[in-house]
């Protein structure tokens, strides 16, 4: 995992920006980005409940990239009032987002299920954890997930 970290002060207050990469198929390294993001949120004093929900949702998103995509990027933007996490991937995309949001629906292989994933709860978990979730996808190109967590 490589990451670029930069801090930018915006006129409205402090804003931190981080970018991380995820390698598709890298099960040994999966979760490292979410772990790093969790530590960053702890260091900057984000509310514990927000840290927990953001960590769970980011981890589910990271696993989706590792399981389904070729590669992905995670962008974290944190202000005192809000945490925004965007996950973009290059991969197959999601043909029917509504169907994918249904608990229990999964396109994961048997090998993935043997690891304990692929039960079809990833996207529902992300929706449950985030204060705002948007998913955009192009079949054959990839998927972008935007999650916002209110820290006020």
């Amino acid at each position: 995992m490589s990451d670029d970290a930069s801090g930018v002060n915006s006129p409205s207050g402090n804003e931190l920006n981080y970018m991380f990469r995820i390698q598709g198929g890298d099960f040994a390294g999966a979760g490292a980005v979410s772990s790093r993001i969790k530590k960053i949120l702890q260091q900057i004093g984000t509310k514990p409940d927000v840290i927990r929900r953001a960590s769970i949702a980011t981890y589910e998103a990271e696993m989706n990239v590792v399981i389904h995509a070729r590669m992905g990027e995670v962008a974290l933007t944190a202000t005192p009032l809000k945490v925004h996490i965007r996950i973009l991937d290059e991969g197959p995309g999601i043909p029917d987002i509504g169907l994918a949001m249904q608990p229990g629906y999964s396109t994961a292989s048997d090998e993935i299920r043997e690891m304990g994933f692929g039960a079809g709860m990833g996207l529902p978990n992300m929706e449950r954890c985030a204060d705002n979730l948007e998913i955009r996808s192009v079949v054959g190109t990839g998927t972008t997930v935007d999650m916002v967590f209110n820290n006020d």
Binding site: E60, G116, F117
Partner: protein
């Protein structure tokens, strides 16, 4: 015997003396990891210095997304899966520890990850159903209340 080892032994001695659940926080009743180790006849694989910490609930599950959906912080996880993602799941949820059932043991990389994350790992000879039952009988509740 160094001090940390003495503390662990001290906690385990207490667990043997008392068969009842001990320690409450507000209205929550918990079990220490040392008590859980004793009840499940478990081997400690790492983070032995944390055996005095307390779990207030438990989840027995092999589906990590279900664990992420339903498990409360402060819980322990009982599972038959030994891959590193079990440790990552526990890290995300701030779980108190993981018990691998049926004498299952994770590989060295997974144990190392758990040490880095500060998550105690135990391995019990009991299967999942029996392990959960033994802890439930000692007052360790699950994470979901069914009305």
């Amino acid at each position: 015997m160094d001090q940390s080892r003495q503390e662990v032994v001290g906690v385990m001695e207490f667990a043997k003396l008392s068969e009842e659940v001990s320690g409450t926080t507000e209205d929550r009743v918990g079990l220490t990891l040392a008590q859980i180790q004793s009840i499940l006849k478990a081997q400690v694989l790492c983070c032995e210095e944390k055996m005095g910490s307390q779990a207030f609930s438990a989840c027995g599950c092999d589906l990590m997304s279900d664990v992420l959906a339903f498990t409360k912080p402060g819980s322990i996880l009982l599972t038959g899966l030994t891959n590193s993602q079990v440790v990552r799941t526990a890290e995300m949820l701030d779980l108190k520890g993981i018990v691998f059932v049926r004498d299952k043991q994770p590989d060295a990389d997974t144990i190392r990850l758990a040490m880095d994350c500060g998550i105690p790992l135990l391995s019990s000879p009991y299967p999942l159903y029996e392990s959960c039952g033994l802890l439930f009988a000692k007052g360790l509740k699950g994470c979901i209340t069914v009305e």
